[in-house]
C-alpha cells in the first residue's frame, strides 16, 4: 500500500472506479482507491442495472446522453470486453391526469435536446407489451434509447482501465479518519496504514455523510433503503423497462432472462444503512407485479435483496469540492451512479483539472454543492413523504 498519493478515492463502487478511470485517462497519476470490502460490494452490486437519458431536467438528460454514448465504447476502450449493453427502452406508465401532463411537458423538453421520448396510448402499450393489464392506464412515455448494462462488468471495466493506467486499488481497507490541517486535507487514515494526500474524493454514496463527518462537515446525502427481487430466468422478451410512480414498482428483464423488480422500503426511516431484506416487501411486490402483468402469477421468485440510494435534496448528483475544506471532493451519484458513471468520472476529472469547457453541455454549478442554500434534510424522518419525489422508484 502506498504511503503517499496525489489523489485518494474512497469507495470501490461504480462511481469511485469511474473517477479512478477517467482521472487516470486524463493524465492524473499517483491515484489510490480504497474500498472497505471488495469492488461492487455496496450499492453498485445491488442496483437494477438499467440506464436512461429521459429525466425531468436538461442537466440530467445531458449527463444521461453522454453516459449512453460512453457505455457503447467503454468495453473496448478499457480492453475489458462486452458490457452487455442493450437498448430496449424505458417506459413510464401513467395513471393520473397530472402525471400525463407532467410527462408530456418533459417530453417537449427532452425532444428539444435530442432525447427521443414518445407518448403512447394504452393500445400502443398493449402492442409493445401484450401481457400488460391496461385497466385504468391513461398513457405511457417511452424512450427507445434507454436500456440495460451489466453493472458488475461496467465496474470491473473501469477497474481494469484504471489499473492498466497505474491506479492502486486497496480493497478490504477501511477508512477510519481523514487528517485536516489548516483547512486542507493532509492524509487519509485507514486500518492498514496512512496515505498522505492533498486530495480526497468521497465516492461512498449511501455512506457519504459518515465520511464527511471525518472532516467535520455535514453533507445532504441520506441513505434510503430500496428492495428488489428477481425471478427465475424466462425467455428474453426484449421488452422496455416499465416504471409506474402510481403503483410504485419497476420491472426490468435482465438479458439472462430473470425479471428484476423493486421499490422503496417504506418502513425504514431514511438515514440508516441496513442490508436486510423483508418479507412484506416480497409480498407487496408480488401483489403489484401480478396486478400489472397477470402472467407473473406462475413465475417463480428466486431471490430478494436490499440496497440503498444516496438521497440528495434535488435527487441530482453532487460533484465537486466542499468549500470549507480544501482538497475534499464529493462524487455522489444520488442513486444514479451506475447509469451516469461516465458523466461522474468525466466531470470529476474536469473539475480537478480546472477545465472551463466540458464534454457535457452543463454548468459545474448545476452539479456542485453550492446549489443548496440550506441543505439539511431530516435524516430521522419517514421515507414515506419522499415517495412522490422524482426517482422514488427508479
Amino acid at each position: 500500500m502506498k504511503k503517499t498519493a496525489d489523489i485518494v478515492i474512497i469507495g470501490g463502487g461504480v462511481a469511485g472506479c469511474s473517477c479512478a478511470y477517467y482521472l487516470a485517462k486524463r493524465g492524473f497519476r499517483n491515484i489510490v482507491l480504497v474500498e472497505k470490502k471488495y469492488i461492487t460490494s455496496g450499492s453498485t452490486g445491488r442496483c437494477a442495472a438499467n440506464f436512461k437519458e429521459q429525466w425531468e431536467s436538461p442537466v440530467k438528460c445531458e449527463m444521461g446522453k453522454y453516459s449512453i454514448r460512453q457505455f457503447k465504447v467503454l468495453g473496448e476502450e478499457t480492453g475489458f470486453g462486452d458490457l452487455e449493453v442493450v437498448q430496449n427502452g424505458y417506459m413510464f406508465t401513467l395513471y393520473q391526469p397530472d402525471q400525463v401532463a407532467e410527462f408530456k411537458r418533459r417530453q417537449t423538453m427532452q425532444n428539444s435536446i435530442g432525447v427521443p421520448t414518445q407518448y403512447l396510448e394504452p393500445y400502443e402499450v398493449k402492442q409493445i407489451i401484450p401481457q400488460y393489464n391496461t385497466a385504468g392506464l391513461l398513457g405511457a412515455i417511452l424512450n427507445p434509447e434507454d436500456g440495460h448494462i451489466n453493472p458488475f462488468k461496467l465496474t470491473f471495466a473501469y477497474e481494469k482501465g484504471a489499473k492498466d493506467r497505474g491506479v492502486e486499488f486497496d480493497t478490504y481497507t477501511t477508512v477510519t479518519g481523514i487528517r485536516v490541517e489548516g483547512g486542507r486535507v493532509k492524509a487519509v487514515i485507514t486500518d492498514r496504514g496512512t496515505i498522505e494526500t492533498p486530495v480526497v474524493i468521497n465516492a461512498t454514496e449511501a455512506e457519504t455523510k459518515w465520511i464527511s463527518r471525518m472532516v467535520g462537515l455535514y453533507h445532504p446525502v441520506e441513505p434510503q433503503k430500496h428492495e428488489i427481487l428477481i425471478t427465475e430466468p424466462m425467455d428474453y422478451l426484449k421488452l422496455p423497462m416499465i416504471t409506474s410512480y402510481d403503483q410504485k414498482i419497476y420491472i426490468h428483464q435482465m438479458p439472462h432472462g430473470g425479471f428484476a423488480m423493486g421499490t422503496l422500503n417504506e418502513f425504514q426511516p431514511m438515514g440508516i444503512v441496513n442490508y436486510g431484506s423483508s418479507w412484506n416487501f416480497l409480498e407487496e411486490m408480488c401483489r403489484r407485479a401480478v396486478q400489472m402483468i397477470p402472467a407473473f402469477q406462475n413465475v417463480r421468485v428466486i431471490r430478494q435483496w436490499a440496497g440503498h440510494y444516496g438521497m440528495t435534496p434535488d435527487m441530482n448528483v453532487i460533484l465537486g469540492p466542499a468549500p470549507e475544506v480544501e482538497g475534499y471532493i464529493l462524487a455522489t451519484g444520488a442513486a444514479k451512479s451506475m447509469m451516469m458513471s461516465p458523466a461522474i468520472g468525466t466531470l470529476i476529472a474536469e473539475i480537478l483539472a480546472g477545465d472551463t469547457e466540458s464534454a457535457i453541455p452543463i454548468s459545474k454549478k448545476d452539479v456542485g454543492l453550492s446549489r443548496f442554500q440550506n441543505y439539511f434534510i431530516n435524516p430521522g424522518g419517514s421515507s414515506k413523504k419522499n415517495m412522490d419525489a422524482e426517482d422514488a422508484v427508479s
Binding site: 427465475e232 439472462h256 409480498e283 401480478v290 421468485v301
Partner: protein, 90 residues
Amino acid sequence: MDESKMYLCRCENVTLADLHKILDAGVTSMEEVKRYTRCTKGPCQGRTCKELIAKEMARYLHVPIESIDIPKDRAPIKPIPMGEIAKGDQ
C-alpha cells in the same frame, strides 16, 4: 479429467476450470467469485453448488473451509410462484 467439463454451478454453467482461473488471478473471496461468475445466482440459489464451490476453494487455496466467506442465503429458500406469494395470508 477435463476441468472445463466439470460443472460446479449447473444453473450458471460455472466449471472447475472457470473457478481455478479466477483463483489463479489472486481472488480469495467467494463473494467475489460470485460477482465474477454469477455462481449461486441461478434458480437453485446455491443449494447444489454453494458447498461444492466453498470446498473446492478451501482445497485449492490450502485454507480451512471456515475461512471461506460463503455468500449468505437469501429469501425465498426455494423458488415460489409470485401468485402464491401475492395471496399473502389467505
